[in-house]
Symmetry: C2
Subunit: 280 residues, 2 copies
């Protein structure tokens, strides 16, 4: 297993709570010695994407992933098409940013629906439609399975095995290097099949995210913990990813409204550096 | 698929919020025409178990399950042994109550542990130790996989497939009719392998619980919905259980601190009756 240095790691900007403009966030992340940054569309869209890309490059930072897809499942075809189009545009921005992957948080059930299988079919359909554009842009599509607690409203894709099945099922995508998965320890740590599925994911892991599961968890969306503060065996799971050949950035993504988002960016980044060495 | 009547259904007493002594709850459930009741240990232990059993019988109610096991995983052997012993005593009470099964909510990680595989091994070990006593008592052990959101603190057993694997792995328990699973739609509705695993569970389903997943969910523990108020395809999942041969009671178990627990028992029971016909 690698001995991690900050240069091996990316800061997902959500970790810093979107408390400063993207320009300041880029500078803070670079100053703290990290090797990469993963920005969100809310920080990029409506701004000068080319200028932001240049600033990231000039700061010496890579962009492992761009967050994240518009939710795909819709109640009707017009809605579905609009969601696919929004993702197509975001993938173009990802290319401008030099992002290696576009993170696909796929969405849950359309309003009024109880048919999760139909929602999943829409996701597979959309992924197939987006793959050619992503390939042409030089951006990989990274399907991110989310914890089943979000199945209804954020991601009908829950299991790593399910994301891998979808990679294989998307028409013409078998072994396509432009389609893979993003693994976040928060979403998969509990899965009894994790070791098996991580081995199966070999060659498909396009992103690896870390944080921790707090006990108790006050809010399943925005009460995630810093590595070491919860119950996830983060180094153990990183070991599985690296045994499967993953050599990319370890990305720190912590949604923490009541704690880390209230701290100064420099403080949070400092604790991230420490915990990379001691708990990641 | 069966057309459900209240006589086919059990009321889990948690649905009524523990707002009245067990004697009153028994009378209310029987008066509302339900066929069975599933009481909790907090209502029984410290009371006269034989008298409660007689009252349930006299009211014409069956007892499909007794809720629930003491959490098993412990930080040391003394704690583990104490948990096994507490469950042994509760199984004896289940026998007095005439309960068909003892519901095993197995517990999460011991304090300080990040080793979920070790917790699972403790659960399998304890289940093996309890099985002989359960068989001697005439009470089936029903392993209940809980939604992965509870993996850390309530159940390291998350997937139905995992519960079935454990049934097979418990020493000497292959095809043992005294060991099976309890399926609650709240915990498994999102599982992409549900249809496959429910078919595999044929002959092993000892309990079938219903409620609904609300969107949004204010509290993953105590904000469950009445059937029809959320996004779960309850009839679809009941159909899978019945295709797998399940012909036992459909048990309504709704943890709802802010809504149903604040209503009169008679009102909640009336809505349960309606929703059995329209949304279960």
């Amino acid at each position: 297993m690698r001995r991690l240095s900050p240069g091996d790691c990316a800061i997902n900007t959500a970790t810093l709570g979107f408390q400063a403009p993207i320009g300041e966030v880029i500078e803070a992340v670079a100053r703290a010695g990290f090797g990469a940054i993963a920005p969100w569309r809310r920080e990029v869209e409506g701004g000068d994407v080319t200028a932001i890309a240049r600033q990231i490059r000039d700061a010496g930072l890579a962009v492992p992933g761009y967050c994240r897809s518009t939710y795909i499942p819709a109640a009707d075809k017009a809605g579905f098409d609009a969601n696919v189009d929004a993702n197509r545009r975001a993938i173009s921005d990802a290319a401008v940013l030099g992002a290696k992957s576009f993170v696909m948080v796929v969405g849950g059930l359309p309003t009024g629906s109880k048919d999760i299988a139909a929602a999943r079919a829409q996701v597979a359909d959309a992924t197939g439609r987006l793959l050619g554009h992503a390939r042409a842009c030089g951006v990989r599509l990274a399907l991110e399975p989310l914890h089943p607690v979000y199945a209804a409203d954020r991601s009908c894709l829950s299991l790593l095995s399910e994301a891998l099945d979808m990679c294989e099922a998307v028409e013409g995508a078998t072994d396509d290097p432009w389609l893979g998965v993003c693994v976040d320890v928060y979403h998969v740590w509990w899965d009894p099949n994790l070791r098996r599925d991580m081995a199966r994911a070999s060659g498909r892991i396009l992103g690896f995210h870390v944080c921790d599961w707090l006990v108790p968890t006050a809010d399943v969306l925005n009460d995630r913990g810093m590595m070491g503060d919860g119950v996830i065996d983060v180094p153990g799971i990183r070991g599985m990813a690296e045994e499967a050949g993953y050599a990319g950035f370890v990305e720190i993504e912590i949604f923490s409204a009541a704690n880390w988002w209230k701290r100064l960016m420099v403080e949070t980044l400092g604790v991230c550096r420490e915990r990379l060495a001691t708990a990641t």
